[in-house]
Symmetry: C2
């Protein structure tokens, strides 16, 4: 069997980061981000196209400068539970913070989604990027980077322990013998670690896929290490083909170094394809989008987000990039630190930094269907990804990709012609994790 591309859909409602003009498009409903029927339609479109998953991002802090979709949106697990019963095969990946949740509650909610969906739940583990989130959870300061990542690793390990509370045959439910539960198959975790203390057991059993699939978005050293240790899917940072190649190789190598099969971590790059009947029409549509999203103040606010919702409008736009190193979080090597390093090395003004953020978002997948399919194949063959996390603007843009590009990928044997499985794990080619408390060898084994 040849390797296949995995595809996920990543709906952004009225407009995510940089999509400043999307809400003004008459084809986008003004309440899309809080309309469950919008998400159900997206999920059904993804399932109709045989995509692996619907991917829902999240955040826990806003102010009035935040992207439209962030201001007013549904909580991902609540959202995906509602979507679950309107779909049968597509995976349901919810972003949730390991910094601002408790493992018992969160593990339980993911297990519930996993049961409700018949084994299609995924958890995108984030440590919360917005430092302002701390003040929504009783803290004066954001936990520092190493603490957040240490907690994230321990959190995932605890969640997995809780998900294994019941062995698969824990409930004989045998009326004749009067045995509903076999108590020997129920296990308390009794975890006491550096960041977390959780006794268990969890009050819910495992689903058909054993455990929800763990996604992560590792960029920094800590992030890549966390991904290599526990992630089964990665939402990769993107960039040039070379950057994507390097990232891919690095993650696979790190994963192997932890004794894991590198095939058991699927790397998704971000893709915002622009597809039209001809290459020229696609480039025209790309320019149109570029102009729709042309909002300097919006991009200035977006830049501020990487520095704890800092207000950059107080600085001279045409002076050198201001000294805001004190705002980049200690111990972190993401977002803010990278922006500062680039501004220094390239001697950029504040205005140039803002404009460069915009440039960064241009997609390598622009053109007629065949052109886009060619680019995707090129990137795939270059070992830059296992899958693409696709973001579109309007339903028409989704359809242009699904009806135009997907059939070509399918013809080339690069994308499935039917779902391999009813579970997210099954479709991603991931093994069902063995229950850590089970004594006898089980059939499902990694």
């Amino acid at each position: 069997m040849s390797r296949k591309i995995h595809l996920a859909l990543h709906p952004y409602g009225v407009g995510g980061p940089g999509q400043h003009g999307l809400w003004k498009d008459p084809r986008v409903a003004k309440n899309a981000s809080i309309d469950i029927n919008y998400y159900i339609r997206q999920a059904q479109a993804a399932e109709h196209a045989l995509f692996d998953a619907l991917f829902i991002v999240d955040s826990q802090f806003i102010n009035a400068t935040y992207p439209a979709h962030y201001l007013n949106r549904l909580e991902p697990l609540t959202l995906l539970s509602a979507v679950a019963t309107h779909t049968k095969h597509v995976g349901l990946v919810a972003t949730a913070s390991s910094t601002y949740n408790s493992p018992f509650n969160l593990a339980r909610r993911f297990a519930s989604l996993d049961h409700i969906s018949g084994g299609r739940a995924g958890w995108n583990v984030v440590t919360s990027f917005d430092s302002g989130a701390a003040r929504n959870f009783g803290l004066d300061e954001h936990l520092d980077y190493p603490t957040r990542y240490g907690r994230a690793l321990e959190f995932v390990q605890v969640a997995r322990g809780l998900w294994d509370s019941y062995e698969d045959d824990a409930f004989p439910a045998d009326a004749e013998r009067d045995v509903f539960l076999d108590p020997a198959k129920l296990h308390a975790l009794n975890h006491a670690g550096e960041h977390l203390k959780v006794a268990g057991p969890l009050n819910i059993s495992r689903s058909p896929q054993g455990q929800p699939v763990i996604f992560q978005a590792g960029v920094s050293e800590e992030g890549r290490d966390l991904a290599a240790r526990v992630a089964e899917g990665i939402y990769a940072p993107g960039g040039s083909l070379q950057q994507a190649q390097d990232y891919y190789a690095d993650i696979k190598r790190r994963t192997a170094s932890y004794g894991r099969d590198p095939e058991h971590i699927k790397i998704f790059i971000h893709g915002s394809p622009v597809v039209a009947a001809t290459d020229e029409a696609a480039r025209r549509r790309e320019r149109e989008i570029f102009e729709e999203d042309d909002d300097f103040d919006g991009n200035l606010a977006l830049l501020g987000r990487s520095f704890g919702a800092y207000d950059f409008s107080r600085h001279d736009l045409d002076a050198p990039f201001p000294d805001v190193a004190h705002l980049a979080e200690k111990g972190g090597r993401t977002g803010a630190a990278r922006i500062i390093a680039r501004a220094e090395s390239e001697k950029l003004t504040l205005r140039q930094v803002v404009d460069s953020l915009r440039e960064f978002r241009r997609s390598p997948f622009v053109g007629a269907p065949k052109t886009v399919a060619d680019s995707i194949e090129e990137w795939f063959d270059a070992a830059t990804f296992d899958g693409i996390n696709l973001a579109f603007r309007t339903d028409e843009d989704v359809a242009a990709f699904v009806d135009g590009v997907v059939p070509i990928l399918r013809e080339r044997g690069l994308f499935r012609t039917e779902y391999e499985s009813d579970t997210l794990r099954g479709n991603l080619g991931l093994p069902v994790p063995r229950n850590q408390f089970a004594r006898e060898p089980q059939l499902a084994d990694d």
Copy 2:
């Protein structure tokens, strides 16, 4: 318009407290408590009968002696989000702990359910009864009673503040003027109280009913006080007609003493009606249930639950009730303390206490449809309740009540012939809370 009875349905899957034998009934699916289709069917049956709400209880601690439904069940908000899109009118009340959640996350999840359901969310605020839950949330000891209730009050106030983050007209989404959000209509709460610190704003707007409806189950002095201050629905403790009358009068009086309209707090008693074609057949069915649930060890474990999952089997069953006062939580006047007081005053053995718990669960609503309707009317006229929270065993038992008793109540003008509203508030006759940040008077006003 004459006063109408409100009805809620309270599904217990494979069997809640005392329903030891339910899972053995061949009409009950062994996986009912984790089967979303079971809950969707219950919700649709409730909606078909024009009930006000589906009511989902919860807990965060188990051991192997816990009731079957508790061992392995779906988390209530995840569950009700999935149910929401399969119903249009029935309210969706989820139990959630104010002790073991953070206000930002929980307020957001309820607001999401409220949007997904079009204004039908309710929150049953509990402070977590099982002392063992503490160890699932990083604590060595359960927070004491006054702390839990103090936190609960503050938590509800914070949640309400977060739910008001956006004024109703905060999103002009006016493409011509290029204004998606009117920033003056977004409000941070900046709460810093005795138990909680939460800045806000919340990243989701208000639903058609303004805010989710607050339910509570006040029994103790602290519980009743909390209910009178913030609850809009109460799940009452039950007991004899006289006890229910006293409770009802007390809550309405306390509510008025806080300057609130006593009509704006709806008191639901628990009801487990047993309905059959004739009174005799219903009594036969009641005896059958009584025998099905005859499980001394199960009741012994249930007794232990009130004392922090204490194992009473180590004591002599026929000696006087053991001295376990040290296990009854400090400052609490619920469960355990009431059991000890009764055992002392009536000089009961351990065995007698266990048997008395069982007796307590007998329903006043047993008989042919007309008999049950008569009893319900008698209790309603005696000012014992505004509504009944109905628990049944099998789908057939639901149908016997819905097809037999509800039409009689309807004929007598005691129950609605159509939904008054699309929102839970509307159907319960509760006002839409005014946004605490709005400057101008709004139409919806309490």
